[in-house]
Symmetry: C2
Subunit: 208 residues, 2 copies
DNA sequence: ACGTGTCCTAAGCGCTTGCTCACCCTCCGT
DNA sequence: ACGGAGGGTGAGCAAGCGCTTAGGACACGT
């Protein structure tokens, strides 16, 4: 329970606060393997191998392969959601808060695109209960963005005919960064975050 | 070769022009299975079962499971690309052509979201050669959108500081429709297409 | 010195996977 | 009447899967 609350805005790629060390290496190895080949194409032998241990050692730290995915998905969703809720509850005009939300959310998806890919595209492989838990967090994600947009519409700062649809579009745009972003590509996470914040302000018709 | 050129704008969900009938049922079954559970989580027994035949019958029509995915991916990419290139080569001002492109592209991804999901999110499971072939088509997709945006910038109709980044964003926004769209949801493919066309015109700063 | 708990491995079990093989149906031109 | 082609099946193979088990190495409080 103390794993997922830490370093909400910092770098989670290293998963630095998981102990013992072997468990941390397993999670890190699983993130890379799941992101590169997908959950179902990844074998427990592959994960254990990347973490530098025997296949059996995995089961000392995690009951099943699915629990590893659940751990990654839960922590990842928590970190991403924290960014949005922090922006929603922050100071400033709606346009400012929306820009902060998008910039931070996109930056996280770019910087931790391996983790984000697993978080956003492998949740279908979760077990029923874990899946439901994650879906609840995703509804909160949607609610956070919608809340900011509604604030802007209420204040007359945004021009959004379809709040629900636009919320989906904004989140969809940001989430998909995890799919295409490449660390060796042309843009840095900061650049993409800034670009996307500007695009989203245009989408909601923020008076600029 | 005559399979993927037909009904570019029509409904491809039924895969109506594949013969014999058993092969068509196999592709349709594979699309549904791949879209619901992912390529690697789908078994050949599952596909054959959905198509109403024995596991062995699959191999009369397709050499491997991967070839089935390749067929779906190739045809799907062709259909989606045709929509964009038709809009790019069409008549009208850049804003009009961009709106047509986005509306058609989004509508296809919503209407055929099962096929689109496989096309957009399972291409990593393709073999090396097939993967390269599909990547080439995806570059053409990017080029088509970028071409329209460049036209608009050149004509002074768009305000786009970062053409490359904005092209990626626009395409990303449209593609991700396949992930979240639900046939039993609140919006129809037409509604989403119209909404998205408007959002994209705002993103490129089209003077409206 | 020694029991205890933690962390790990080698071996392998039971099952599922993609795919093949030997064989069996029609249907159809001659 | 009949051979052959096209479309199908039941059984099953080799390989790989997630996961378990029996046991060993090592640090540490006493």
């Amino acid at each position: 329970m103390d794993v997922e609350r830490k370093n909400a805005g910092g770098r989670a790629e290293a998963w630095g606060d998981i102990t013992p060390d072997a468990a941390r290496r397993l999670v890190s190895a699983a993130v890379h393997a799941f992101a590169e080949r997908g959950y179902h194409a990844t074998t427990t032998r592959d994960i254990a191998g990347r973490a530098g241990m025997s296949p059996a050692a995995l089961y000392i730290h995690y009951k099943t392969k699915e629990e590893l995915l659940y751990q990654i998905s839960k922590v990842g969703h928590r970190l991403a959601l924290d960014i949005l809720e922090e922006a929603r509850d922050g100071e400033g005009a709606p346009a400012e808060r929306l820009a902060t939300a998008v910039r931070g959310f996109v930056r996280w998806h770019a910087e931790h695109h391996m983790t984000a890919r697993v978080v956003q595209y492998e949740l279908g492989a979760l077990g029923e209960e874990h899946h439901a838990e994650v879906i609840a967090m995703r509804r909160a994600t949607d609610a956070a963005v919608r809340s900011i947009i509604e604030d802007g519409v209420g204040a007359g700062a945004f021009d959004v005919p379809d709040v629900r649809g636009t919320t989906v579009a904004v989140l969809s745009l940001c989430i998909d960064v995890a799919r295409w972003f490449n660390a060796r590509g042309r843009s840095t996470p900061d650049e993409v975050g800034d670009l996307y914040a500007g695009l989203v302000l245009r989408m909601v018709g923020a008076d600029s």
